[in-house]
Symmetry: C2
Amino acid sequence: MNTLIDNLNWRYATKKFDTTKRLKEDDLTTLLEVLRLAPSAYGLQPFKVLVIDNPSIREQLKSKSYGQPQITDASHLIVLCSYLDVKDSHIDEHILNTATTRGIDANLLVGYGDFMKRTINNFDSEQKLVWNGKQVYLALGQLIHAAAQMHVDAAPMEGFDPLGYDEVLNLKAQNLHATVVCALGYRSEDDATQHFKKVRKAKSTIIEII
Amino acid sequence: MNTLIDNLNWRYATKKFDTTKRLKEDDLTTLLEVLRLAPSAYGLQPFKVLVIDNPSIREQLKSKSYGQPQITDASHLIVLCSYLDVKDSHIDEHILNTATTRGIDANLLVGYGDFMKRTINNFDSEQKLVWNGKQVYLALGQLIHAAAQMHVDAAPMEGFDPLGYDEVLNLKAQNLHATVVCALGYRSEDDATQHFKKVRKAKSTIIEII
């Protein structure tokens, strides 16, 4: 159809990474910038991106991921963490950042901040976590898309023990919760799954014009 | 930094669309294909993409969206709907689609189907909805990213009444729930917000290498 779509067809959930290949520093920088630029509700970015480089920590995380080899074998491992809680102080920081970035008086944004606080404080703690988690998945979608366009392989993974991750990475004390994981690198030639035909619903099943 | 990042910096949550400009048919086709190709947990794609073309339905949806003008003014309105429930029959259909697409005997996939059923049937109805919703946000992330790369403007929107949407679009009877909305089209020259500097957390705040 076109290059953008060809690249999405090129990608697949990589099962086996080439352990000898590492992402170029420039490519990693681009992919992290994609995450940083991802939009989020009210622009609050209620998440943190952890890049796990330390091999011994990756081994520990592998044991919390049903032993899946991508955790240690991929060039880079990204753990996307939601905020456990969104606090008034986060909104104040965002308002201050907005005022500073745009060179305006923060006092002019007090009403907008109060509006966000009212909305978010209406959520219970479970609803906040769900809401934050959705923003993380939006960012993950952008990461996977960008990686495909750059022909970097990605394995998005839900198959891990989030509380185990929280423990290994000491996340709870930082108001964080491991939401989803993405291994990045280059497919191994031996990964047979790269040759499997992509399975998707037919256009007529998943899309409807009203 | 590079074109991909430049395009993400070019995008913004469009507040005012040019009502005279419509997406090219090819571009719409590409963006819908991006949604169809989005990865999802187990490849189940527990969502449906509604493209709302009918002006009178868009007026009704606007009244369920705090009157936000993007709902009617954008070239196209996409409503991303999660499945309310993931049923065993959905997994059976996915297994059959996998077998057909890859030319293998569906009987060989029975064990994998049973594994998925066990996992998903462990979720209560709220957990299923949350899980499905996350897959929708991943797809939304890909849509926004692709639109930016194509210089199509997008306004992802959470500010609407999901139950109101469900009613207008008769979603509940179809096992669907309106999860998030994205208006697509071209920014109006008059949209002052396009000139606002993008506000994002500093790299050192949102990213940590461990």
